[in-house]
């Protein structure tokens, strides 16, 4: 009775890509018809919209929308003809969660991991120091990895895409220069690095020495986060995540990178502590 839903739920639980397609406009006998589409070498299509040609065309389009992470309504003829509007189908794409890789196992990391989880990220914390990179310190992370950042990126780099984020919070040149250089070799959508303005300038020089070109430097959001006057690890985490959203949507929000002067000003600030 629940074959389609069980297939959909199983894919969602496994965090695997899946699309649900439903007829939301059209003849009564097709209305509410559904297919569940899973990508892969042998793409799986379960269910039917009521016509084999319509199923074939719509499942092909659904795979395209799923790859782009888009949920849309599309219209077809009764047998899948383009440029007809007899049938409207809602294609809902369930892409796997975007990933955030945080380098550096510090207090800011724990706060950033918490906020990233709220936003739906699959969070990995990576640090070369086994004393700091422990499950006990980062219970909110999906994964805690003890490794040098560049080696970890060499492993997972090819799978990072535009929806994913790399946040370098080590502010120690021996970790962050190789981490940033390795992250620039991936297709990651957001790359930010923490540090004071002085640290940022020194790091830029080291990155240039390491062979990073101006286009590469231009991809690095550093100092990381929006210029909202964040002070605590939690406020900083919100400033970083807000910057990630603004970068994705292309909105003009004031990044620290594009401002000058002190990141923290001396005026009295009242901070909100988490409970």
């Amino acid at each position: 009775m629940s074959r389609l839903f069980e297939a959909l739920a199983a894919a969602l639980r496994a965090e695997e890509p899946v699309a649900l397609v439903e007829v939301v406009e059209g003849p009564e006998d097709l209305f509410g018809g559904k297919i569940v589409v899973r990508p892969g070498a042998d793409a799986v299509v379960l269910g039917s919209l009521g016509d084999p040609d319509l199923d074939r065309v719509v499942s092909r389009d659904a795979l395209g929308e799923l790859a782009a992470g888009m949920s849309v309504t599309r219209h077809y003829g009764l047998h899948g003809e383009a440029r007809a509007r007899d049938v409207g189908v809602f294609i809902e794409s369930f892409a796997p969660p975007p990933r955030m890789v945080i380098f550096g196992a510090v207090d800011f990391t724990a706060a950033l991991a918490r906020v990233a989880k709220v936003l739906g990220y699959h969070v990995t914390v990576c640090d070369a120091r086994p004393v700091f990179a422990t499950r006990a310190r980062f219970p909110m992370a999906d994964e805690v990895v003890v490794a040098w950042p560049d080696r970890h990126l060499a492993e997972i780099g090819p799978t990072l895409g535009v929806r994913d984020a790399v946040c370098v919070l080590t502010h120690d040149p021996k970790f962050d220069v190789p981490a940033i250089a390795a992250a620039l070799a991936t297709g990651v959508g957001y790359l930010g690095a923490m540090g004071s303005r002085r640290t940022t300038l020194e790091r830029e020089a080291r990155l240039r020495e390491a062979g990073v070109d101006p286009a590469g430097l231009g991809r690095v959001m550093a100092p990381i986060g929006l210029d909202v006057g964040a002070r605590t690890p939690e406020e900083t985490a919100v400033a970083i995540c807000a910057e990630i959203i603004a970068c994705r949507t292309g909105r003009a929000a004031p990044s620290l990178r594009d401002a000058s002067g002190p990141i923290h000003r001396d005026s009295p600030v009242r901070t909100v502590s988490p409970t």
């Binding site: 009775m1 629940s2 074959r3 389609l4 839903f5 959909l8 739920a9 969602l12 639980r13 649900l20 439903e22 939301v24 406009e25 209305f31 509410g32 559904k34 269910g47 949920s71 849309v72 309504t73 809602f90 809902e92 369930f94």
Partner: protein, 105 residues
């Protein structure tokens, strides 16, 4: 959908029937994107949401009606309502279309 899977499992394990309400289209300003999902058990429990809270109560009524009736899916539209102070509507001025159906597929 993801966020209501646990509620669906729990209700079904208790032998309850479940209705699914899903935003399948929006026009103009609307609080939630297509795909926003609310589920309602036949004993009236609710999880998830389809708007900023404006039309949830009306959707619950539709969902219980679908479960009690012939089980056919129905498409409900909610738009701006200014003719009656407490009429169901979105105050943001947009329109949402919500598919309401029994979760029996």
């Amino acid at each position: 959908m993801r966020e209501v899977l646990a509620d669906i499992d729990r209700w079904r394990s208790q032998g309850k029937r479940v209705a699914l309400a899903r935003v399948v289209g929006t026009e103009g300003s609307s609080p939630r994107l297509p795909g926003a999902t609310m589920v309602v058990s036949d004993s009236g429990e609710v999880a998830g949401s389809v708007s900023g809270g404006c039309v949830e109560a009306a959707v619950v009524t539709e969902a219980l009606d679908v479960l009690a009736g012939d089980g056919r899916p129905r498409l409900c539209s909610f738009g701006y309502s200014d003719d009656e102070a407490f009429a169901v509507g979105l105050t943001c001025g947009g329109t949402i279309r919500v598919m309401v159906e029994p979760l029996e597929w």
